[in-house]
Amino acid sequence: MTTPLLAGDHLGYQVGDAPQLTILRDISLTVREREFVCIVGASGCGKTTLLRLLGGLLRPTEGSVTFRGKAVTDPDPALAIVFQDYGKALLPWRTVAGNVALALEARGVARAARRDIVMELLAQVGLADRADAFPVALSGGMQQRLQIARCLAQKPQVLLMDEPFGALDAMTRQTLQDEVARLAAESGMTVVFVTHDLEEAIYLGDRVIAMESRPGRIGEVVDVDLPRPRNQLTTREDATFLTLRHRLFTLLPAGH
């Protein structure tokens, strides 16, 4: 069995003094290299908190997070986080190219080499022709792609995505889902994808972790045995897809 790349061991997270609120309780999970793991749960179940713990933005009150065997206590470029509120995670005063370059500057990439790398990444996410535009001129979907490109520029080992398509319309969402799937497959990237959309989780994941709410804990973990590459039309009509959906649907509270 391959050593997990990223692991959470009996994680717990509480806030407040009196009363103390338990957001996460006894969460253990492992993420293997090149896996696409989806975490799905209702709003408020703590899945975003879990992702932030995995990314080192928060420290667990119980348990620990390990990355390649070492404890995660602070954020690291190797664990790239794609935030849901993309607008707030981009620098409005830099162009599209400038935003991607930020990650390269942080990495210490030589100035001369930056332009080529930036353009290549922008081509990968389909923004090559908007390199000199400012974020304010881009649509929501494009801004999210820009954030993804910036995260890829970090040369991450894990991509942690926090409901990245939650603020987008259905059509853009589907396009981006396929793009992320493609990017992950091409680069062999490990992805942890948090969403409240059950179908999105099954569509994208190799494995789906379904969380229960109040407090957040792991409900069920299922392997997604669907062939790749996946297709928005055919995969979603596949029998296995529907079975999985049926199985996990009952786990999540009604009307989520």
């Binding site: 933005l57 954020p75 995670a89 620098l91 409005p92 005063w93 830099r94 990650a103 942080a106 001129a137």
Partner: protein, 256 residues
């Protein structure tokens, strides 16, 4: 410009000219005392004459020089101090209440103090202008640095940006709009204080010119001086706005 916009602009020119014509008629008909309200012919005529006199340009130069010196030193000091305060919550909690008290203080009220400290001379004038112009820039800068988007802070942590890189690449650009708002206010203040100090100190300058004109009942000179001061206010503001628009071009078009 659209057709309506052009027509309206022309219309406003026409209205302005009509008002000036009315002014002239009233002066000619002796409806208003020529001592207090010289007609536009005399006012603009005197202005035209003054523009040909070396003394006028000397006075103008003095006023502008003091404005520039005071404004620029205040701008630099304000941004530097403001950035330090804006980034340090701890320092702020000690200093902010005092700042809140100084903010509403009429800047001209400190003139007697500065006269006592420095004397009735050139240095006093520039010092007063700098003192008065400092506050808007300082407060604007503090606000700009205070309100850095927390999400960007997380991105900075994730990328392992150095504190200096964070300030230069995130905090400072983020503060620019607020800094410019403070600068615009400081510019207005510097003109006002230049005029006031010149009126009080009897030193060569536009402020001195108009108070002398009033005391010797040379109303046309007075009006000419007022027009010049208005023009300076307009021109300096326009220049600053142009700079602001260029530096902040990433904001895109403001919503109509």
């Amino acid at each position: 410009m659209t057709r309506t916009a052009t027509l309206q602009a022309l219309g406003s020119v026409a209205v302005a000219l009509a008002l000036i014509a009315l002014w002239q008629l009233a002066a000619n008909a002796g409806l208003i005392s020529p001592v207090f309200f010289p007609g536009p012919d005399r006012s603009f005529g005197t202005l035209w004459e003054q523009l040909h006199e070396a003394d006028f340009w000397l006075a103008c130069g003095e006023t502008l020089r003091r404005m520039a010196l005071g404004f620029l030193s205040a701008a630099i000091a304000g941004v530097v101090l403001g950035s330090v305060l804006g980034l340090s919550g701890r320092l702020r909690s000690y200093v902010e209440p005092t700042l809140e008290f100084v903010r509403p203080l009429p800047a001209s009220a400190v003139i007697p103090l500065f006269v006592l400290l420095i004397g009735l001379n050139e240095r006093m004038i520039v010092a007063v202008i700098a003192f008065a112009s400092l506050w808007p820039v300082l407060l604007g800068t503090v606000h700009g640095f205070k309100t850095v988007e927390p999400r960007l802070g997380e991105v900075a942590r994730m990328l392992h940006l150095s504190p200096l890189a964070f300030v230069l690449k995130m905090a400072l650009p983020n503060a620019m709009p607020d800094i410019f708002a403070g600068l615009r206010l400081a510019l207005t203040v510097s003109l006002i204080l230049a005029v006031v100090t010149e009126m009080l100190s009897g030193m060569e300058g536009l402020g001195h010119n108009i108070i002398m004109a009033a005391r010797s009942f040379r109303s046309a000179d007075l009006y000419a001086g007022i027009i010049v001061l208005g023009a300076i206010g307009f021109a300096t503001n326009l220049a600053l706005e142009r700079i602001e628009r260029h530096v902040l071009r990433w904001r895109g078009t403001e919503p109509g």
